[in-house]
């Protein structure tokens, strides 16, 4: 009924309609880049790229990175940074394996342990950053050191999970009917995804809803954009920041468990340098470290783009591992420059108006 009473949109208003926001623009670029890159790979190299399983393996192999990048995106939107995510992931894998094997723990117990470790890190880091106003980089750096150190204290030697129930969970695959490829003998191999992918996608959807449609999510954007004016609007900046770190910690715990579901092994060097990959994914996905701009769907595509470029480098014959890092660096450089230029042009545009 209200729509009928509404004034008809006059031409003036249509012209003044809000332009596409920075968040959405950067998201569109990322999504287009990913599909463009993948399409190009399919057209040029074909082969593996045409295999649906290889596309799904992008998810299978990187589900943990998707989860921890989501957490990092939340913190970055609120204007903070958390580099402890990789360390927490490693600690969770090691602690869970030792709990399952040596202590005879149950699968449910190990899940609770993973969540508890993540929550504990999130709580402490959130408290220190938001209520004691210590620089987030230093706190999360200390968190990373602590997590990495604790991982080796729990067990120095790499461990493999042997718990039967856990192995059943690890080997569990969801078969996607109708999609698949033909093996060398001509038999049809249906495409399959791991349990971790389901968790990762669920996390992405939940975080998307959280950021888009809850008051807390909108508060995150507000305090990231300008914490001073957010405070004046009556937003509890400290509490919002605290919860952003708490959620990031919990998601790191979940990410650790997803990692364990994929590899089934605890190792001190698990998820090494993944914090930097997570930051890179978030940036490629259009999240600005300055805060206030970002989207979790972009982060998802950031992870996928980052990993697709590695596949492309391998497919194009540059098999030495250092080429992957160099191309990743170049891709990062490209996106960072692109974002900077776009944002500058847009800022310049509004100024002229």
């Amino acid at each position: 009924m209200r729509n009928k009473n509404k004034q008809p949109a006059d031409p003036q208003r249509i012209q003044l309609r809000e332009p596409i926001s920075n968040t959405n623009l950067l998201l569109i670029i990322t999504v287009c880049t990913f599909f463009g890159m993948y399409g190009m790979a399919m057209a040029v190299w074909g082969g593996g790229f045409l295999n649906p399983q290889q596309f799904l393996d992008l998810f299978n192999n990187n589900s943990f990175l998707i989860v921890i990048s989501c957490g990092l995106t939340i913190v970055m939107i609120a204007g903070g940074i958390d580099i402890s995510v990789g360390g927490i992931t490693a600690l969770v894998t090691m602690a869970c394996v030792v709990y399952l094997d040596d202590k005879g723990g149950s699968v449910a117990g190990s899940m609770a342990l993973a969540l508890a470790i993540g929550t504990a890190f999130g709580l402490v880091q959130g408290l220190l950053v938001s209520y004691l106003e210590i620089q987030p980089f230093i706190i999360s750096l200390a968190g990373m050191f602590f997590a990495r150190g604790m991982t080796t204290i729990v067990s120095v030697a790499p461990r493999t999970a042997e718990n039967e129930m856990f192995m059943a969970l690890k080997e569990f695959r969801i078969v996607i009917p109708g999609i698949g490829s033909y093996g060398k003998t001509g038999n049809f191999i249906p495409a399959r995804i791991e349990l971790g992918v389901v968790i990762a996608i669920a996390v992405v959807i939940l975080v998307f809803i959280l950021l888009k449609w809850t008051r807390f999510g909108r508060n995150l954007y507000a305090i990231g954009g300008n914490s001073q004016s957010a405070r004046m609007l009556g937003i509890n900046v400290k509490r919002t920041r605290f919860f952003s770190y708490l959620i990031c910690g919990v998601l790191s715990g979940i990410g650790g468990y997803v990692y364990l579901l994929h590899t089934g092994a605890g190792n001190a060097s698990n998820a090494s340098a993944s914090e930097m990959q997570a930051i890179a994914s978030a940036i490629i996905g259009g999240t600005l470290l300055t805060g206030g701009v970002g989207n979790v769907i972009g982060t998802l595509f950031g992870v996928l783009s980052l990993k697709t470029i590695n596949n492309i480098v391998i497919a194009s014959g540059l098999r030495e591992p250092y080429w992957q890092s160099i191309t990743t660096g170049m891709m990062l450089c490209f996106f960072i420059l692109l974002q900077s230029v776009i944002l500058r042009i847009r800022a310049g545009g509004t100024k002229r108006d």
């Binding site: 940074i81 220190l128 209520y131 004691l132 106003e133 210590i134 620089q135 980089f137 230093i138 706190i139 750096l141 200390a142 968190g143 990373m144 050191f145 602590f146 990495r148 150190g149 604790m150 080796t152 204290i153 120095v156 001190a268 930097m276 930051i279 890179a280 940036i283 600005l288 470290l289 300055t290 030495e320 591992p321 250092y322 080429w323 890092s325 160099i326 990743t328 660096g329 170049m330 990062l332 450089c333 960072i336 420059l337 900077s340 230029v341 500058r344």
Partner: protein, 357 residues
């Protein structure tokens, strides 16, 4: 005397000095022989100083040099360079590459160092352009070289980890015959004196602070903000190349994977422990250098306590958190209020002084 004490108490050096003192005290109680100096004869037949203190001072050299540059970058660009380890690997690789192609003597070492320096300054200029020219957050801009740096270092030497054997490199990495003090420590002392002289005699420090505190007003006052940021990144490049060359000389080989690994984290920590705000502005080089030695002293103390090297990080984290919590403005103002409540007098004295000033 009292006034000087007051000034010291207010300065940012209190917490780091206190932490260093506490560490020393802890070691004194734990094991007084920690502080003993010995004169031992090393493999090359030189009589040299040894002991825990010397090993702290010696092994913190690279960190101390890099944290000097990191302080300037932090102050001017309000962010940190996380690519220093990777750039050090690049500089080290160039250093080795040049040495490999010639017979090693002093002029060639100097030439190799200059080449390494140039490459590192170029990397610094790349970071500086992204930060100052395009207005990108320093940590994001330097993420590029962090990702690509070590592979580039690998590529410079054709995918190998070459060794260079020369007694001359040993002089740089360990001891000069006849001098009982490790050469890296001497380099740190010379470099620190040089930097403090430059800061004292030129406007570099003042301008850097001005840009860090308020870039806009600095620019309106005629300071070239772009140039200052660029300069700080290039100075960091020089620091990094010195550290990289020391690291290579110490080992006699370049391992692009492990050379100065994770030093960016330690350097940022050193800057923060030294009482500098990571959000830029006012800075103290002395604080950062003290911070570097605190980190190394902590590591050596933990080693002396027979903590396994892989677990050192966990204990280090606890101490770091204790230091930054003590230094946090909220906790400090809490203690100030607590003291004012318990001893109302000192507060008045402070008030009077404030008026006097």
């Amino acid at each position: 005397m009292a006034k000087r004490f007051q000034r010291l108490r207010k300065s940012q050096l209190v917490i780091p000095l206190f932490a260093l003192l506490l560490l020393a005290l802890f070691n004194l109680i734990r094991d007084p022989s920690f502080f003993s100096f010995n004169i031992t004869v090393n493999n090359e037949g030189n009589s040299v100083l040894s002991g825990n203190i010397i090993s702290i001072l010696n092994s913190a050299s690279e960190l101390a040099i890099i944290s000097i540059g990191m302080t300037l970058v932090t102050a001017s660009s309000r962010g940190q360079d996380i690519s220093v380890g990777a750039v050090a690997a690049i500089a080290g690789s160039v250093f080795v590459r040049v040495l490999k192609e010639h017979t090693i003597n002093w002029p060639i070492i100097l030439l190799a160092f200059v080449c390494a320096c140039l490459v590192a300054v170029l990397c610094g200029a790349f970071n500086g352009t992204l930060v100052a020219g395009f207005g990108i957050q320093p940590m994001i801009a330097t993420l590029i070289l962090l990702t690509a740096g070590r592979p580039i270092a690998y590529w410079i030497n054709g995918g190998a980890t070459p060794t260079v054997e020369s007694p001359l490199l040993g002089y740089i990495g360990s001891f000069i015959p006849g001098v009982p003090i490790p050469t890296p420590l001497l380099i740190v002392i010379v470099f620190a004196i040089f930097v403090s002289l430059v800061l004292r005699l030129t406007n570099l420090g003042l301008y850097t602070q001005a840009v860090g505190i308020n870039e806009k007003s600095a620019r309106l006052n005629g300071i070239n903000a772009f140039g200052m940021k660029m300069l700080s990144f290039m100075i960091l490049g020089i620091c990094v190349s010195i550290a990289g060359c020391i690291g290579v000389s110490r080992m006699g080989l370049i391992n692009h994977e492990t050379l100065l690994l994770d030093i960016e984290m330690d350097a940022i920590l050193a800057v923060a422990i030294g009482g500098n705000a990571l959000s830029g502005g006012k800075f103290s080089i002395t604080g950062s250098v003290i911070g570097a030695y605190i980190i190394q002293a902590l590591t050596i103390t933990l080693y002396a306590m027979k903590v396994p090297s892989t677990a050192v990080k966990a204990y280090k984290a606890i101490v770091i958190i204790a230091i930054v919590v003590l230094g946090s403005p909220v906790v400090q103002s809490f203690f100030l209020r607590l003291r004012n409540k318990m001893f109302p007098k000192p507060a008045k004295v402070e008030e009077k002084q404030a008026y006097a000033e």
